[in-house]
């Protein structure tokens, strides 16, 4: 990842230096898992749960996505899914469902950034 790329990522909600730290300093490993994120089905599961208003499935998916985005230092995705988890836990699934739109936007922009990685 060159400097230009790093700055784009930082601007787009992926804190690169934090991410590399999480992967014990291995840039290669971090990049590998960023690319793998494309294949991650968690967001799909979450979308389905939102559609069917299934709060159990919604919580599981939000929690899983929170973990993954946290590890990859995807700040916005992490924050929103975090809030969703809190809402689900407080038995306020409606609040969580409402956050989906904002989440989708951040999720898609992160995916676009990753697609640019060689």
């Amino acid at each position: 990842m060159d400097q230009e790329c790093i700055e784009k990522f930082n601007a787009g909600g992926i804190d690169v230096s934090d991410g590399i730290n999480r992967f014990a300093g291995s840039t290669d490993l971090y990049e590998k898992f960023l690319k793998k994120f494309k294949d991650d089905k968690t967001f799909e599961d979450l979308s389905k749960a939102i559609e069917t208003k299934n709060s159990d499935e919604g919580f599981k998916a939000a929690h899983a996505l929170k973990g993954v985005s946290g590890n990859l230092s995807m700040k916005y995705v992490y924050e929103i899914t975090s809030d969703m988890c809190t809402a689900f836990r407080a038995n306020e699934p409606e609040k969580a469902f409402e956050m989906y739109t904002a989440l989708k936007e951040k999720y898609e922009s992160v995916c676009r950034l990753i697609n640019e990685l060689k």
Binding site: N21, R22, F23, A24, K36, H63, G67, N71
Partner: protein
């Protein structure tokens, strides 16, 4: 202990495992599991190698809580530390997880360095504890061995008022242990663990201690006992039990209660027609049942004043036929399964006159070991270290201008005394053994050495020197080191001079 430590990482999310793996390779060899079932499998198969487990809580198939519970009941936790790494790091989970026996709980997302340190801290603590256990085990074995030898001898004396059958007690203990181990191999119904077996076997040594109150005339009568004599003989069970009660807590209450039971009940019969209390069937404690078999087998297969020795085969037949006391069919089936082992004990530990000399030597060694004063032990360690380093070591006292060769005992430099004056000896040494080209340098080094040490210099000094140890042939490079011996007194100036052959 294996060289590289093995770590098991359990998490259903591949990324999480990958991050942890990255942190701990190559310090640890990494095993992975993606759910609780896999984790338990791996632990069962690799229990002796695994140093530590990192466990996630939320997983499919079997979650971390269930894994912890199983590990706890299966008894792995004292040996294998488990650190839970989870996103569920609220205080309720923390409490639950720690209650279940986890060593620590680390929340996700984590800082790699922090995890590394916490994991290593826990692992080295367990390592230290296990090492201690090993050392303690060792010590307790030796103490036991020395105790056993003494006890066996004393009891034999009491029992037979003669020293002819010193091995009898040893055999009884071995028969008891053999049969108990056979039982455990074949059934779990008596809930016997290793500790209990060991304690019961030790306690069986006292089974006939009641004989101390039986008159010689009866104890050593070569012929059949009259009914009255037999009644008196029978009392050795209850009298023995009294002795044990009076002895109180010799070692611990388990030992005492086994000893009491074996002593009092080893002549009971399965049908209730034995003595002293007429206990029937399973009223008879298992330790006493087993002790009874051991006693009768030994009595049959050894010569006694009132009978010759029977063969192993005859003894087994008589016992299983109920000719010498009556035991349960079940116990007899275990006895038959263990019969071969009984036979080897009988053969390997047959009676011979007590070899006092051997016993003395063994016990003296042990007493010496225990008697080593802390000072002597330290000195021994010091010599061992020098020996390991493979050098010549000389203690120099510059205030008195004296030296003394510490190691090796026989100096290889001929003409140099074990002790003497530094200045003179150094001069002689340099002129005799140091290569002519190196002599000036060596003299200078020695002069400086004295000067600096007397001035209070505590620094280590090193130099190389070409020396020929037998004054004639091959010169070799040696390393000469001087290490100050800190005496905490400013008026004493001492150093350790170390000469080491450098492999060139």
């Amino acid at each position: 202990m294996p060289d590289r430590k093995v770590m098991l990482i359990v998490d259903d999310i591949e990324m999480n495992r990958a991050i942890l793996k990255e942190i701990f390779t190559p310090e640890y060899e990494i095993l992975e599991a993606s759910n609780g079932v896999q984790a338990l499998d791996i632990i069962h198969q690799n229990a002796n190698e695994i140093s530590i487990v990192l466990l996630d809580l939320i997983m499919p198939e079997m979650d971390g809580f269930e894994v912890m519970t199983k590990l706890s009941t299966e008894g792995y936790l004292p040996r294998i530390p488990v650190i839970v790494i989870t996103a569920e790091n609220d205080s309720e989970n923390e409490n639950n997880v720690l209650e279940l026996g986890a060593s620590d709980l680390i929340g996700k997302p984590f800082i790699p360095n922090v995890v590394k340190r916490r994991v290593n801290n826990v692992a080295s603590l367990y390592n230290y504890q296990l090492n201690l256990e090993g050392i303690a085990d060792d010590l307790s074995h030796r103490l036991r061995a020395s105790n056993d030898a003494v006890i066996d001898t004393l009891i034999s004396l009491i029992e037979h008022r003669s020293l002819e059958s010193g091995q009898h007690i040893l055999r009884i203990r071995k028969y008891t242990m053999t049969l108990l181990e056979q039982i455990v191999e074949m059934t779990g119904k008596y809930n016997l663990n290793e500790d209990m077996i060991r304690t019961m076997s030790e306690a069986s040594a006292l089974h006939d201690i009641g004989k101390v109150v039986i008159p010689d005339g009866i104890l050593n009568k070569p012929g059949r006992l009259t009914p009255e004599e037999f009644e008196i003989m029978k009392t050795h069970t209850t009298e023995g039990a009294k002795v044990i009660t009076r002895m109180g807590m010799i070692k611990d209450s388990l030992y005492s209660s086994y000893a009491y039971n074996i002593c009092r009940y080893h002549h009971e019969r399965w049908d209730g027609r034995g003595y002293s209390d007429g206990l029937k069937g399973n009223e008879i404690p298992i330790c006493a049942q087993v002790g009874g078999v051991a006693d009768v087998y030994d009595a049959l297969t050894t010569k006694r004043v009132y009978k010759p020795a029977y063969t192993h085969e005859q003894a087994v037949k008589m016992i299983t036929n109920g000719e010498c006391g009556l035991f349960s069919d079940e116990l007899m089936s275990y006895f038959i399964a263990a019969a071969d082992k009984f036979k080897s004990v009988a053969q390997n530990y047959g009676d011979e006159p007590l070899k006092f000399k051997n016993n003395d030597a063994k016990q003296n060694d042990m007493i010496d070991d225990i008697r080593d004063s802390a000072l002597r032990l330290d000195k021994l360690k010091y010599y061992a270290a020098l020996k390991a380093y493979g050098c010549t070591a000389i203690e120099a006292d510059y205030d008195r201008d004296t030296y003394s060769v510490v190691y090796p005992q026989a100096l290889m430099f001929e003409g140099v005394a074990q002790r003497g004056e530094i200045t003179k000896a150094a001069q002689y040494f340099i002129d005799t053994f140091v290569h002519p080209d190196d002599r000036d340098n060596a003299k200078k080094w020695m002069d400086e050495e004295k000067k600096k040490r007397l001035a209070g210099d505590m620094n280590d000094r090193t130099d190389e020197c070409v020396i020929c140890s037998d004054g004639r042939k091959d010169y070799k490079k040696y390393l000469i080191q001087s290490i100050a011996i800190d005496t905490q007194s400013t008026r004493r100036h001492r150093a350790l001079l170390v000469l080491k052959d450098i492999k060139s």
